[in-house]
Amino acid sequence: DQQVKQNSPSLSVQEGRISILNCDYTNSMFDYFLWYKKYPAEGPTFLISISSIKDKNEDGRFTVFLNKSAKHLSLHIVPSQPGDSAVYFCAAKRENEKLTFGTGTRLTIIP
């Protein structure tokens, strides 16, 4: 039972354009969401997060949007750079429970 789903295994975007990575969840009790970025042969690193009381959080080129009614969140990267090429995991949790990860989306930025 995959409670956090990333339906696009891969995404290719031209350098300088916007990258949009999507994530859907089924558990309406989740109230905190995170995005992690993973390069090959490295562990995931934290990128950005959002709590359920917000619908948007911005950090430089990265913005996460949360639509609670649709149980959907997205990560926008503007402008996309070659160094953004990586696998992106979304994750969700309830208070006092552990993170549940999605399956990941491999983003490739085309120079």
Binding site: Q2, V4, Q6, P9, D31, Y32, L34, Y36, A41, E42, G43, P44, T45, F46, S49, S51, F89, K93, E95, N96, K98, L99, T100, F101, G102, T103, G104
Partner: protein, 114 residues
């Protein structure tokens, strides 16, 4: 700034062999975790610990054991390796389990059981 260190990075085991994956963190974090990542799948929690002497099962604990004798170390033990345990294993730590606390991950151990 070591963070979370895992050893070894790669290992090939024969069916039935045993091994210990080592994990140590130097951030004085209370919480530590072991995840596995199978191809095309997200990270699945194997075991976690909320402090020295305390461990608990995650989603996929079968075939594994852990111990937490110190704050720094959280080894994962495979007693009888099986092909289904072929995976990439990640150790992580976090300061606590509050909502806005990120987890820091090690570089991973790629394990193949043949």
């Amino acid at each position: 700034n070591a963070g979370v260190t895992q050893t070894p990075k790669f290992r090939i085991l024969k069916i039935g062999q045993s091994m210990t994956l080592q994990c140590t963190q130097d951030m004085n974090h209370n919480y530590m975790y072991w995840y596995r990542q199978d191809p095309g799948m997200g990270l699945k929690l194997i075991y976690y610990s909320v402090g020295a002497g305390i461990t608990d099962k995650g989603e996929v604990p079968n075939g594994y054991n852990v111990s937490r004798s110190t704050t720094e170390d959280f080894p994962l033990r495979l007693e009888l390796a099986a092909p289904s345990q072929t995976s990439v294993y990640f150790c992580a730590s976090s300061r606590d389990d509050l909502m806005n606390t990120e987890a820091f991950f090690g570089q991973g151990t790629r394990l193949t059981v043949v």
